[in-house]
Symmetry: C2
Subunit: 234 residues, 2 copies
DNA sequence: CCAAAAGTGTTATCGCTACACCCATGA
DNA sequence: TCATGGGTGTAGCGATAACACTTTTGG
């Protein structure tokens, strides 16, 4: 189909701009964090903002989200999912922009800090998010709710922790997500009962004299369980 | 901010078309159904399709979804939620169109049939969906998964059944959603234990000689329970 | 030797599942 | 009177929550 032909379809439809915005979560020392940066374009230049970009004509929406994520963190192949569409006609005073919000989970230790810094980015504790531009605070609120929901049914904790992690570390993550302290013993029992962790011979002694054994997430076993109809629930 | 000023922002961003498509569910006699119609515009004119529309510049995305729903069913104030963005750059061969899929739950008895018919619409059993245009079959698959997921945590059955319904009717809905037969006695116990149904003095005798008592969903009680942190689980 | 976190087992309770019988009624 | 779907109660089992003591080791 030639270009000339194409343009005859849908000719009464109005065109508008489509953007992606990314809520980027990280986890460090019992604390869930969010990556924000100072906007580089007008309006709202230099205000705190989520990272985002316009979607190009020849680019998938999810590709655009992956593109900005790579641009700001240097990471590819990270956990990145759609959060939802923010489509109020007047959400951006400058232009009509429909934004497809996405959220990402990344490992802080793998992130390229110099990239983030070159974009004037900063990691904020989730309970200390500043006022953001447009409807970005609303996006963050949605993303947090979705993260909590998701954490019940998928082992997303593993996306945020380092490759090797201890069970107390994992518990810290869930404690911070659910904003309450789970029972140590029951938590360990449940997690181990799922049989998706590989125990290593190493210990992490950074938080106690005794040290805690390191574990790795066993993706193969997890996928097998999911295929068999298994529900990860903490 | 004047129009002239506005156009100077984001001037390097490419514009594209944004559409909404609606997966409309109904329920009738133990059977989940879907409203489809014959597309009226080229390309794919006269092929089976979801209902949809382009989003206008001065219109919220969700307003557009509500607009088409009203246009095709005559209904307003129905359950309508976003399903997700379908944003592959080549999903429509005619033009670059990003579609925000929505799903709706409507009561078949309230629907204006003549409106649907004037649009050459037809109700299909969900297990007899024909081949649809573009990625619409994929949208339907997602919508069904979302419906099943949602049915666990929100009392959406009530959106699809008539105002007054019997418990066996409600059970039929869940049976058809989950594609297996729940236990009659346990189902009734669980539903009643939630204390969100008002028992009426009337009976529906259309399916048995004895007749089954009619109930109504008590939205106030339900909202109160949700506010107190209650999880509807069937 | 002691402080501080890691690791381990048992018991009681609750919720869910499975299951069988009676009821109301129109034909 | 009987066939058909509607309505009810209970016992057993499994999963979960609550809970206390031992282990390790650096300082």
């Amino acid at each position: 189909m030639s270009k000339a032909e194409k343009s005859t379809f849908y000719k009464d439809a109005e065109q508008l701009m489509v953007a992606v915005d990314c809520i980027i979560f990280g986890f460090d020392k019992d604390q869930l964090k969010l990556l924000l940066f100072k906007r580089k374009i007008y309006p709202f230049k230099n205000k705190w903002s989520l990272i985002g970009s316009f979607v190009n004509r020849k680019e998938n929406v999810d590709s655009a989200a992956n593109r900005v994520l790579a641009e700001y963190t240097g990471l590819t192949n990270v956990f990145l999912e759609e959060l939802g569409c923010f489509g109020k006609y007047n959400r951006d005073p400058a232009e009509r922009v429909v934004s497809i919000a996405h959220y990402a989970l990344i490992r802080l230790d793998e992130q390229k800090l110099e990239l983030a810094e070159s974009h004037e980015a900063h990691w904020f504790d989730v309970d200390e998010i500043p006022k953001l531009i447009l409807d970005h605070n609303e996006m963050v609120t949605h993303a947090l709710e979705e993260l909590r929901r998701k954490a019940r049914y998928q082992p997303i904790g593993f996306e945020l922790l380092p490759e090797k992690f201890t069970i107390p570390q994992l518990k810290n993550f869930y404690d911070s997500i659910y904003q309450k302290e789970l029972d140590r013993r029951n938590f360990r029992k449940r997690i181990l009962a799922m049989d998706i962790l590989k125990k290593l011979d190493e210990k992490d002694k950074s938080t106690s004299r005794k040290g805690a054994f390191l574990y790795q997430f066993d993706k193969k076993k997890y996928k097998k369980l999911v295929a068999e109809g298994f529900n990860f629930i903490v």
